[in-house]
Amino acid sequence: MNKVHDNRAWFLILPMLLLVAFSAIIPLMTVVNYSVQDVFDANTRFFTGTEWFEAILNDRSLQAALLRQFAFSFTILAIEVPLGIGIALLMPKRGWQASAVLILITLPLLIPWNVVGSIWQLFTRGDIGLMGVGIRELGYPYNITRNASDAWATIVLMDVWHWTPLIALLCYSGLRAIPDAYYQAARIDRATKWAVFRYIQLPKLTNVLVIGVLLRFMHSFMIYAEPFVLTGGGPGSSTTFLSQSLTTMAIAQQDLGPSAAFSLIYFLIILLVCWIFYTAIMNSQKDHTAQGGA
């Protein structure tokens, strides 16, 4: 669409800008301020330069948490995105069945995050939980408080349960927006199901998938309440993710300087990965439209 250049549009942005800035800029400035100082109390502080940043970047346990975090985020993206697209393709298109399925699959999204952890704790307990007892009945000694790989697999499963509906929901409404004429044209050309998916449905889903993938990446990278409630980060540190280390440092130990430096590094990593995702998807889409137009 051809947009008109008009700087008066700023007036339409202004109320939003003031509100977001109030919640974003002042706290961010405080964090930047803390990250270069050693704070003892309100009046006693020393300038430390980049000391905290160096300490954080050289911390072995944080490096391990970062790797674990990336492994987790990419695992769940690799499962949730294809699964979500698949579910959206399977969902009924109209009638009461469509409404019913829509309401049922959004249920996990509507539960507060710490409650999600509690539900899964009840569900996976080896003595009273449906899943825990079920797996043990099959002969596998399932135990998320002792066995690191069980804990890891359970957290991945919990995240898939919790968030696949978001991808499915976005894709479902994206699919609904494809005009029937496209499908009719495909039928006339005797296109196979795969061709319809590859050349009609998937390109049309790109934009909702950008929202879905970016939101999922950001949220999974900041995951806190669910693993904290379910496993407390254990056994050992096998399910301790970045934001849990950060919370321990900031709240429990009150190390303001290092945790501020930590959160700035954290923020920059998310920013960088999201920017790479965003430009990569947008560029591939531009290529696609260029090909289509030629």
Binding site: T30, P112, L122
Partner: protein
């Protein structure tokens, strides 16, 4: 449609072949339909099992929950729910949560609508940078921002009020709303705006009476997302409140005491947190199906 009567052996054979092909095709599409239903059914079972378990436990007493494993409540009780509905400390948690979620939805949508319109219709100095900056607010790790938030809201005298949480949630809800609404608005052809101006509509009148109804499905979907993310958020709402505006998710942590966790009450409270969400989904379900992606296709 009239059928030609087969006269020659070739045409008889041809028709027989055609009807056989048709039957095979029908049989195949029936198989595909059943396969689709089975797969979707399996997924729904996966989604519903943990929720069923929560429901199951919410109808049991604590001794039964911890005593034995059973697929359904052996001695059915509503005691956990009665406990929540008769204790003001408990049910006020739902009221508090709903209060700040509704405030946040109202604030977010009313400032996001004009902003999204500006992004979808105009170019102006710094527009692209501003849009990306908005998105970065979705990426701020909450843990360390908690202390600055606490200090900020405490110093302006908003600590432990509903509006404090509503404003804090604007940090991630407004950018999301602008992002989604901008897509919907870009799908409305610019000619609509131009025709309205030629017909003598003022901007506010055009925006409210013509433009908003055209993107109402987008507004429905946006409201669903605003509700969802504000309703489930825990860290900020817990930090910015003490007693008067405490959210339900934070009150639920009280079930964990020195004598162990009160699983029955926790499960019942968990079931009740899903209810307002179901109401919201019920109202926006048709909008979601109608096309979230209109503008982003």
């Amino acid at each position: 449609m009239t059928r030609s009567v087969p006269t020659t052996p070739e045409s008889v054979r041809q028709q027989a072949a055609e009807s056989a092909a048709r039957r095979r095709k029908q049989a195949r599409s029936a198989t595909i339909r059943w396969r689709r239903r089975t797969l979707l059914g399996l997924y729904l079972v996966f989604v519903l099992l943990p929720i069923y378990w929560l429901l199951n436990i919410s109808f049991q007493t604590n001794s039964e929950i911890l005593g034995s494993f059973s697929f359904w409540p052996q001695s059915f009780t509503l005691g956990n729910y009665v406990g929540i509905f008769t204790d003001a400390n408990w049910y006020m948690g739902y009221v508090n949560s709903l209060a700040y979620v509704l405030m946040n939805m109202l604030i977010s949508i009313s400032v996001a609508l004009p902003a999204a319109y500006a992004f979808s219709r105009f170019t102006f100095i710094g527009d692209k940078h501003l849009f990306f900056w908005l998105l970065t607010n979705l990426m701020a790790p909450p843990a360390v921002f908690l202390l600055p938030y606490f200090q900020l809201y405490y110093s302006v005298g908003l600590f432990d009020t509903h509006i404090a949480v509503a404003l804090a949630h604007c940090l991630f809800n407004i950018p999301l709303a602008v992002w989604i609404l901008e897509g919907f608005m870009s799908s409305v052809p610019k000619e609509v705006d131009e025709t309205a101006y030629i017909d003598g509509y003022s901007f506010p009148r055009f925006f409210v009476t013509i433009f908003l109804p055209m993107i109402r499905s987008g507004i429905g979907v946006t409201l669903f997302f605003l509700f969802m993310f504000s309703w489930v958020e825990l860290l900020l709402s817990r930090t910015l409140t003490a007693t008067n505006a405490q959210p339900i998710a934070s009150i639920m942590t009280r079930t964990s005491t020195a004598s162990g966790i009160d699983w029955g009450t926790l499960a019942a409270a968990g079931v009740l947190t899903i209810v307002p969400g179901i109401v919201v989904v019920y109202f926006v379900r048709n909008h979601i199906a109608k096309g979230f992606a209109l503008g982003r296709t």
